[in-house]
Amino acid sequence: MTDTPRVTEILEIVSETPSHKTFRFRDAGIATAKPGQFLMVWLPGVDEIPMGVAEAGEVSAITVEKLGDCTTKLHELNVGDKIGIRGPYGNGFSLPKESSNLLMIAGGTGAVPILPTVERALEAGHSVTLIHGSRCEDLLLYAERFERMDIGYHKCTDDGSCGMKGFTTDVAEKLLDTGGYDAIYTCGPEVMMKKVVALGLKHDVPTYASLERYMKCGVGVCDQCSIGAGLRVCKDGPVFDGETLGQVADFGIFKREASGKRINL
């Protein structure tokens, strides 16, 4: 399969929250994607942007938060409209081989790669605790799906409209104090992940975080997404372990805009 966009039809659109929509489509390349991998989504004539794999299989899905130009135009699409897909890209989350007790921490749209990771972990016989945070109840992406799963589910919102009022990291701190977790998987705002990584180090629990950077080629050539000692988020990541991130001066501090210029997070 070449790394050229493959145009496919949108089969189904689901409104998940006031700002998130899920788009289902068929693509042979994405069918076998691992949780935590991503794809480049092309809206012809507009832009091409990275999106995490939400569902992979005979029918696959992405969930898009309406944010700027391209995501707004994606939200205006209807069933039958066409988008281009290339990928899957990146390493994705790797689960332990032995049955383990896993702590997952999702913030905001970071729930996207966490969804298939939880599903895969349950299939493989791991036990899962999920801490899930967002600004308010309306925006708790996939909350109903997580509620139906056999997991420990802790919701928290910045405004207290649902679950605990406060941050995912406050809940994580308490749970980690009780001990018993074998690994942590996280995706969300980088400042949150920076705290999660620090908690993992403090409690000596291996931690895996999925990063976001501005992307262009998606295949490790253009250097747009690189951090630290030449780690390409698109190819060497987007998932990095806590020890690696400890060596990355950029982590939690700055990202780069399309020109390559550093901007503070």
């Binding site: 050229t4 480049m40 066409k82 262009k216 050539v221 630290g228 030449g230 780069r256």
Partner: protein, 311 residues
């Protein structure tokens, strides 16, 4: 079997081996350029830098085609002031490693004044040599529009040579009817070396949607498909000029490097091969070329430079 020396030089610029990183690939951040050096390159060419920050063209900016890569990045760069930080970080990384690795600063501009100013600013960052990008095929007003006019090329090069003391390399576009003529003009302007080739003008259309695939609609082709075009360019230029030539375009293995050398290249640059073989490709290509030379009894890489012209 005797050992073959892979050392080479571009005029006064000595290189530990002939493989350099080409401009625009893994050279936005100091971290990546250092990783390329650790991967076996003798030096890096920076991405083409201008005065102000430039975001580049909208995505898609790069896609894979059957035998190469198609890109229209649109000269994205953070501007020389910000980029100077990456250069400083690169240089301290090289100093910490205690190795010899060169950094060649690529600049672009709209006319000879622009180029002379950018050359001065780039020289101040402490690079070892300059590369003038007079050949980008997809940024309007820059690059190839200058690089296809021999008089403009001569003017730009002599303005730059008047402004800086560093060696000046001129990167040529293959999108002209006679690339050797442009190389000659660069030599007359005072260039210390020419670099051939930049990407080949190209386009891809998605027939399902009818849209051009690239955000900029048209772009430049690189990778294996353009190797014969690059080899021909180097071969023609070698006959026309007396300054060294740096070969670039579609090099993905040791044999490709040797083919360019026989056509007349004293060193090469490698870009798209990072896509096909990832970062260790630089060291691997040098090793492949070295084994080939040793198996055939050559004692140095330099022996084969221009060999085809003597046969």
């Amino acid at each position: 079997m005797s050992l073959a020396s892979m050392k080479t030089s571009i005029g006064k610029t000595e290189l530990v081996n002939p493989a350099l990183l080409a401009s625009g690939i893994l050279d936005e951040t100091a971290g990546s350029m250092l990783r390329v050096i650790d991967g076996g390159a003798a030096g890096c060419v920076t991405k083409s830098i201008g005065r102000e920050a430039r975001g580049g063209h909208p995505n898609p900016t790069m896609v894979e085609l059957q035998c190469g890569l198609l890109n229209a990045m649109g000269l994205p760069n953070p501007g020389i002031e910000s980029y100077a930080e990456e250069i400083a970080e690169f240089k301290s990384g090289i100093a910490a490693r205690g190795i010899d690795a060169k950094l060649i600063g690529s600049v672009y501009g709209g006319d000879e004044k622009d180029f002379a100013m950018m050359a001065g600013l780039m020289a101040n960052t402490g690079v070892d040599a300059l590369e003038l990008n007079v050949s980008c095929p997809h940024a309007r007003g820059y690059g190839a529009q200058i690089g296809s006019d021999p008089d403009m090329v001569r003017k730009v090069v002599s303005a730059v040579k008047g402004a800086v003391k560093l060696p000046v390399f001129v990167k040529l576009t293959p999108n002209v009817s006679n690339v050797a003529l442009i190389a000659k003009a660069a030599e007359e302007g005072g260039a210390d070396a020419v670099v051939a080739i930049n990407t080949v003008k190209a386009m891809a259309i998605d027939i399902e949607s009818g849209h051009p695939v690239l955000g900029n609609k048209v772009g430049g082709y690189s990778g294996p498909a353009i190797k014969p075009i690059g080899v021909r360019a180097v071969y023609d230029i070698y006959k026309e000029v007396n300054i060294p030539i740096i070969g670039v375009g579609g090099i993905t293995k040791g044999q490709d490097l040797l083919e360019y050398a026989m056509a007349g290249a004293s060193a090469v640059q490698i870009g798209s091969a990072v896509y096909y073989r990832d970062v260790p490709v630089f060291g691997e290509i040098v090793k492949e070329a070295k084994s080939w030379l040793e198996e055939r009894g050559f004692s140095s890489f330099k022996e084969i430079v221009g060999r085809t012209h003597d046969i």
